[in-house]
Amino acid sequence: MSNVAALTGSTNPESTVPTPQRPWAGRRSERLITFARLVVFGVLAIGLTVVTPLADVDGWAVAFLILNFAWVIGITSRLGTKERRNAIARVVVTALGVVAFVPWLSIFATVLWRGYRGLYPGYFVGDMRVTTPDDELNLGGAGHAVVGTLIMVAIATLITLPLGILCGIYLTEVRGRLTFLVRLFVQSMAGVPSVVAGLFIFTTVVRSMEKYSGLAGGLALAVLMLPTVSRTAEEVLKLVPDDLRSAGYALGARQWRTAIMVVLPTVRAGLITAGILGVARVVGETAPLLLTSLNTNGFVWNPVGGTLASLPTYIFAMFNYGTEYSVARAWTGSLVLLSIVSALFFLARRLGQRKNQK
């Protein structure tokens, strides 16, 4: 913008800089025609699924793609090979892009559609002590699982948030001799398969306590959460401008004061985001909990008092039970779990945006 302003010799750039024109963008009428064409092709594709062996949604998609291909090849027949290739590439890439998004949209839709059936207020306060998985959906609930998840995630957060932030500070502020090693370890921890994390904790904690517990589950989640938290914390701390640190030093502050009173407050929102992303990463983990905390049917508030239910293991158990009502319960649990993950995700985004605006 400033370049253009300098060229036009203006002092007030906002008044003279023309809004960017996009002459290649389609006009409204053209876009309407394109839309109408796609609708027509869609209807034609439905016709094709009736008369040819192609069937169902995937058959329709194939028919739709073939029609589009035929149209593109036809319309570009008068143009050169370059334009034709470009038009074909456009269809191919668009198709791939749409296909890539279909499974997730399908998952969101399925979870909503199958999950809402079992949702009623008692779902969040009830447990499964007197209700069998096969009972009607207005009995029992997953309150105990939600509580268990909260306990274990809280344990994991209490451990990893301080450790992760310390790791981040070490990598950005202290920059000691072990920087390379710490970063390498954190990154390789990010790749630890979740079931292996569960095995880790089983060999150490569960074996030495001689019982499954929420504490063990929380520790297993902490192993998985630490890399996310410390990496996000590092990224956020990297964004603090060096000027701020220099200003701190220039005012006579020592490194610790600069770090604690200047750098950390600047990125408070970012550090909270790191925690939230970590929680979102582990709240749906199932495999490590199958090896460390298992499942129960009632409310358990004591993290070291034996097995503890959690949303993922609740869903897993309900789904494996395999009757109509128990599977419906599993979907309802999935709906709750997915809502939690989405809420955390959007919360993290919100905080991140506010930080960037400042």
Partner: protein
């Protein structure tokens, strides 16, 4: 012309005060705690699995039998299980092969989809859906794999079976598409497709990130020389993002190899080398650990630890390759 000599920067010495030393000590201790914790845990894992490795040696990786005599680890092992030689045989050859097979099928679908998806978002998508798509992409990467498993069993299987039947009908003469029983529901092919859906968000978001960093002026140069969008993508965007996208694919591969519950729900675990991807036999080291863990004897637990160690080493190698590439290609902040 006189040459301007840039002065060499003066060496600076930093003397930390005592308070600073304490601060640095605390932070270093915090960072080291995680290292030490991981070290201890890995040490335990190696220690506990060493018995299995000593007893079965290389055969553990190649053999095809998993037989155990014993009881629950916390309920006390039976007398038979305590003896050194009770006839238990543990080996995970088919599971390693199964992991690789399922992960390869997943990548076969995920790579084109994620490259196409990333290109679509960055270069073809209409402006108004760009941001929603990016948000959806990031959100999809956060869906728990358990939900992917549920969706795979309940929704996708019917599609997957249709595709598998089609493949078997038309290409059944090729050995890998032939089957013993025409029951495709729990085959590596269908599981691989679900795994692809699980991997695509990860690879796509890395690829999109890499493509979005392509220097704008290079692309504009392409257009100015009369190139089409395809030309710009082929000659600038793809070469520029090659290593970054490769790293993203490796990250996805690591995820696919270590996936547990989705595979657990989708596959029949069979201890037999099988390359017929449409047959209902298959497996995966991670899901085998979860499956066998429930009623494992003491000795079997040791074998599971060994399997976990093998899985850990494999994913560690894959992820280290990925992260070293990412570190090399991302500009330093």
């Amino acid at each position: 012309m006189t040459t301007v000599e840039t002065p060499t920067p003066r060496k600076m010495t930093v003397i930390y005060s005592r308070a600073d030393k304490v601060f640095r000590g605390i932070v270093t201790a915090g960072a080291l705690t995680s290292l030490v914790a991981l070290g201890i845990i890995a040490g335990f894992l190696i220690l506990r699995s060493s018995g299995t490795f000593r007893e079965f040696g290389f055969n553990f990786l190649t053999g095809t039998e998993w037989f155990s005599a014993g009881e629950d680890p916390l309920g006390g092992a039976t007398a038979a299980a305590d003896e050194a030689n009770d006839g238990s045989i543990f080996s995970i050859g088919p599971m390693i092969v199964g992991s690789v097979v399922v992960a390869s099928i997943a990548l076969l679908f995920a790579v084109p989809l994620s490259i196409g998806g990333a290109l679509y978002i960055e270069f073809f998508a209409p402006r108004f859906i760009y941001r929603p798509l990016v948000i959806l992409l990031d959100l999809a990467a956060a869906i728990p794999s358990l939900i992917f498993g549920l969706w795979g069993v309940e929704i996708f299987t019917s599609f997957g079976v249709r595709w598998a039947t089609f493949l078997n009908d038309r290409l059944g003469f090729i050995p890998i598409f032939s089957v013993e029983f025409e029951n495709f529901g729990r085959s590596p092919f269908v599981a691989g497709c679900v795994l692809a859906a699980l991997v695509v968000p990860i690879t796509t978001s890395v690829a999109r990130e890499v493509y979005s960093r392509t220097p704008r002026d290079l692309i504009d140069t392409c257009y100015a020389l009369g190139g089409t969008k395809l030309g710009a993508i082929r000659s600038v965007v793809l070469p520029y993002g090659k290593s970054g996208v490769f790293a993203g694919i490796m990250l996805g591969l690591g995820r696919a190899l270590g996936e547990t519950v989705a595979i657990y729900l989708m596959l029949n675990l069979v201890f037999k080398y099988s390359f017929n991807i449409l047959d209902s036999t298959g497996g995966n080291v991670a899901s085998m650990i979860a499956l066998k863990f429930g009623e494992a004897s003491d000795k079997e637990i040791s074998a599971l630890m060994a399997s976990g160690l093998v899985l850990f080493v494999i994913t560690l190698i894959v992820n280290t390759i990925a992260s070293s590439i990412i570190q090399r290609t991302t500009p330093r902040a």
